[in-house]
Amino acid sequence: MSTEEHAVELAGLRHVFAGRGRGRRAVRDVEAVKDVDLTVEPGEFVSIVGPSGCGKSTILKMIAGLLRPTEGSVRVWGEPVTGPRRDIGIALQDATLLPWRDVMSNCLFPVELHGKVTGAARERVSGLLERAGLAGFESRRPKELSGGMRQRVAICRALADDPRLLLLDEPFGSLDALTREQMNIDLNRIWRETEKTALLITHGIDEAVLLSTRVVVLSERPGTVVEVVTPPFPKERTKELMSTPEFAEVSGQVRDRLFASDVKVGG
């Protein structure tokens, strides 16, 4: 791979959900995102924040190859995206674990799809589970876990086949503030230790600033990039960082931009 290769490259991206039906019950076309230009460099942790319904998930799904752009192009590691890729790991808002599988085999799911379940893969997943604080839970079923533990399993699953790019769509949306903070610190550590490139969608401004090397702010629907904020912190992030004036300043910057058009943030 060449060094100037981007991890993700979005150019002039637009997506319109086609309407259907006629008359009173017709559903109109929805332009979810437009003119999105964004590049993510290898090793970066980029967060996307924006008002509810502005097209954040739509962008993520186009990168994941689940949706086709109406206009513009999506490239991952320099290649145009034509469908799901094996070198992308994804965790969506709901953990969507398979209830009949235990934790280990839920994590191995992508590896299994790619036909690569080996002793080495199991060991890697064990290592991930340990790092995520789930050691000893390998043979539990999802219903025996707390919500936060399930989210962590989903993140381990996203990382299981050693993807180069990690896509996370509000993985901590349903957690309480305290658990969420702990998960953020965990995620930062996992990101540093595994040296992945990560793209996170979130409603949490502090979460975005705490985790990211860059924070991308989107406008209201149709979403487009209105600001990119670069938190000037070292890679390792701590809880203490959140109470520094520098952190408050960066958060304020993001918040101001988000609320510039009197836009509400929230699920």
């Binding site: 994941a64 190859g65 689940l66 469908g83 799901p84 890729r85 094996r86 992308i88 994804i90 969506l92 709901d94 969507t96 398979l98 209830p99 009949w100 599988r101 235990d102 280990m104 085999s105 799911f109 992508p110 299994e112 799809l113 790619h114 219903k143 086949d161």
Partner: protein
Amino acid sequence: MTAAPRPMSAGAGAAVRWGGLAVVTAVLLAAWQFLPSGVQGDGSSVPKLDAVVKALGPSGEWGEYLTALRTTLGEAFFGLLIGFAAGVVLGVLLGESRILRQGFYPYALALQALPPIALAPIFVIWFGLGMESKIGLVGAATLFPILVSTMAGVAETDRGRIEMATAFGASKAQIRRKIVFPGLVVPIFSGLEISVVLSFLAAIAGELISANAGIGVILQVYQRDFRLAEEFAVLLILVVVGLALALLVRLARHFVLERMPNE
């Protein structure tokens, strides 16, 4: 999918459940034995409890009961096997193909509106007085609940799971095998719980119409001979067997869900 919540401690729950049941049962049995019975006043319209107990005791017609029960259960079992297999296969097909579903489902609904007992004479004409006609009848009666729950299970597969698997690069076949099919275990068991009871009912209904062996036949014989104590004894046996069958399905469901392979 998840076990029913238990608000009380297991011990307290069991005490309430079984305690209540024991009290009600004792009152019912006492009433049966000691209340004056029978509109005709000759004691024959409802046999006394002790007469029924005697019919169920060592001097009862156990040979007859058991032979009949074996025939009926055999019919129910083989009929259910057919209904189950056909129900699952058709349910998967109709669940996966919208065209098939729209074409065939109205027919399935229409057939289901026919009570099994009304079909019994036809099956006797087709398959004779033996077990075969009852097996066919049971198959027809048990197919529908399994078909419907399987079909719903396929059609209502969690979108999020399919999206997740797709994002990880799953093929259509992999989604079917690893997401859709394992998700059918729960709905199929719901259908089976209904069909097991139906299988027993349909077998006996068929025997009451026309048969040469089985519970339905001895019920008719006892009725004809006014052997009401034996008649009640058989009814009690039916209750116990019906409950045992339902319990068996629950156990099987629990067993299967606990032991589903990790793939």
